[in-house]
């Protein structure tokens, strides 16, 4: 009995620690003048009155979409190929994919400046100076998470047999990839894409240090001038990300019921 009481008290304490700061975000963004003043949605309404902010929102959404598509296009064919034809390279690919977890983003940024000087130099006129070039490094940053998601998906199906069957029926590699493998791992692809979106929308380190303005950078800059609005954006973004990741945890938790590998792999995902 007493253990249950202790347990309940502890859960409440943990809950308070995690929920109070989140609640405070919402509280602050709806605050009038002083704690006792009536609540107002003024700051939330003002979000779209700041052109630099709306621009940054658009940029970050574009980055999120392009990053997740590019990641899938780079990773899925490589991982399928490795499983089918280049087994000895599997370890290398895994190592490289998980490497960004060990090398802090801030370290990558330090070495990235010269690389990005070339990227800017080589990119076509319209893209010069655009924050969209961040895609190149964002793909690297999301690699570990996308890799794990896709790896779980591919382990759950028999890639070799599927590919052989399709090939022997005359399918080309593009057909195998897009019409045979991809539909079979669609929940894994969705996982990987959602994770990429969530990470891209939250990215601050690389953008701010390479002097590009994405959503997080804009929010952080705005905090100096108008704390209320920037906290409102932060709260909105938080809600959006939570929703995204909750969708993901619902999908990620299930996986494909038919597979043996998923349950074991689900842990690490």
């Amino acid at each position: 009995m007493s253990f249950r009481v202790v347990k309940a008290v502890l859960y409440v304490l943990y809950g308070a620690f995690f929920l109070v700061p989140l609640f405070a975000l919402v509280e602050f963004s709806t605050r009038g003048l002083g704690l006792s003043a009536p609540r107002t949605l003024q700051y939330w309404r003002e979000i779209f009155d700041h052109p630099e902010l709306t621009h940054a929102i658009v940029v970050s959404l574009e980055l999120a979409v392009i990053t997740s598509v590019a990641t899938l296009l780079l990773l899925v064919p490589t991982m399928v190929w490795v499983r089918l034809r280049a087994k000895p390279l599997a370890r290398l690919v895994e190592f490289l994919c998980l490497l960004p977890l060990t090398i802090p983003a801030i370290v990558i940024v330090v070495g990235l400046a010269p690389v990005y000087a070339w990227v800017t130099y080589l990119s076509p006129g319209a893209l010069k100076g655009s924050a969209l070039v961040l895609v190149f490094v964002y793909v690297v940053l999301v690699l570990p998470f996308a890799y794990r998601a896709i790896d779980a998906g591919l382990s759950a199906i028999d890639v070799a047999t599927l590919a052989e069957a399709a090939r022997s029926l005359g399918a080309g590699w593009t057909t195998v990839m897009f019409r045979v493998i991809a539909p079979n791992i669609r929940s894994a692809l969705l996982n990987a894409a959602l994770l990429s979106v969530a990470l891209t929308l939250g990215e601050f380190t690389v953008a701010s240090l390479l002097n590009y303005v994405n959503l997080q950078v804009a929010v952080n800059q705005l905090a100096q001038a108008n704390a209320g609005v920037s906290v409102a954006v932060a709260a909105a973004l938080l809600l959006f990300t939570f929703l995204l990741l909750l969708v993901l945890s619902i999908f990620g938790g299930r996986g494909r019921p038919s597979s043996r590998g998923t349950a074991r792999k689900g842990r690490t995902a």
């Binding site: 859960y11 943990y14 034809r85 802090p104």
Partner: protein
């Protein structure tokens, strides 16, 4: 956003059951199509080479070069300056404290969860919330704590209304960083440690009881020894996680270089001292060395863990 591997058990390459048959069936094919197998991996390797390995190499080489790329140890000497040493000490203190706090509190939370119903709503809530909150960091997290405990923060104002004056300056120093980092360390610990607790078999407890052991004996001779390697491993992971975090600290502390990542920010953005750029590389190299050592120890402990818990 800073996140490190939530690799709970050393999951080897998956799908290995198929290895044999695949290679057997494949040999006929490769005769028809003579393209070398590694050719398909070239785009990936090229990409990772340019955007991951090249920057890292530039950091390592740059740390040993001066402005004109002549080899020098000058940058490394800069690492022994007072303010740099202080930043490294602060970084280690922040990371170690938040790792230990996160590990203890996270392990306790995981224990609470494990003693509950395995399919209960509590467990599902805690694990999904942990999955979300462990990823949660950066500007938003810093804001959340500023509007909670800062000068105009909710808790600060509530305390003031009740006659308790609080000076919130501590939030922007080492103790503040520790508190804010703990916010994402606890959930990460839950994610990493829960599988270890799940791996404890009830039979071990029963065996201990059958042999006349008390609860204390069980924990003293079975539970704690088995859980020590995963606990230490998770603590190291948390340390590396905090050590490489940048965004949260940068949004919380807008000026100065209290910890190494913020010191790197100063080195990258300061226009006062020319040639600081390569000092930034030396700082980055220092971070890589620390994180690599910690992650190697982590990998070793993982291997030790796998002996009992799989």
């Amino acid at each position: 956003m800073s996140t490190l591997p939530v690799a709970t058990t050393a999951a080897g390459p998956v799908g290995s059951e198929h290895d044999g048959e695949v290679r057997g069936g494949r040999s006929g094919w490769s005769g028809r199509r003579p393209s070398p197998a590694w050719l398909g991996v070239v785009p990936f390797l090229a990409y990772v080479g340019v955007f991951l390995l090249l920057p890292t190499t530039i950091v390592v080489i740059g740390a040993f070069g001066d402005v004109d790329n002549r080899p020098t140890l000058e940058n490394l000497r800069a690492l022994s300056q007072d303010y740099v040493v202080r930043a490294f000490v602060n970084s280690v203190v922040v990371s170690a404290t938040s790792a230990v706090l996160g590990a203890v509190l996270g392990a306790l939370l995981a224990y609470l969860v494990v003693t509950g119903r395995p399919d209960g709503a509590v467990r599902r809530t805690v694990t999904s919330a942990s999955g979300v909150l462990a990823q949660f960091g950066g500007v938003t997290l810093a804001f959340a704590f500023i509007v909670t405990l800062g000068n105009q923060g909710l808790v600060t104002l509530l305390l003031e209304d009740n006659g308790v004056g609080v000076d919130s300056a501590w939030l922007y120093r080492v103790p503040g960083l520790v508190l804010v980092y703990t916010y994402f360390q606890i959930p990460l610990m839950v994610l990493v440690f829960l599988p270890a607790l799940d791996g404890i078999r009830p039979q071990w407890r029963e065996a201990a009881t059958n042999l006349g052991g008390t609860t204390w004996d069980y924990w003293r001779h079975v539970g704690v020894p088995i859980l020590t390697p995963p606990f230490l491993g998770a603590t190291l992971l948390l340390f590396a996680n905090a050590f490489s975090a940048y965004a949260t600290g940068a949004a919380l502390i807008t000026q100065g270089g209290i910890i190494v990542p913020l010191q790197i920010r100063t080195a990258l953005t300061s226009e006062v001292v020319l040639g600081q750029e390569n000092v930034g590389k030396a700082l980055a190299l220092g971070m890589v060395v620390v994180v690599t050592v910690v992650m190697t120890l982590y990998a070793l402990l993982q291997r030790r863990t796998a002996r009992w818990l799989r």
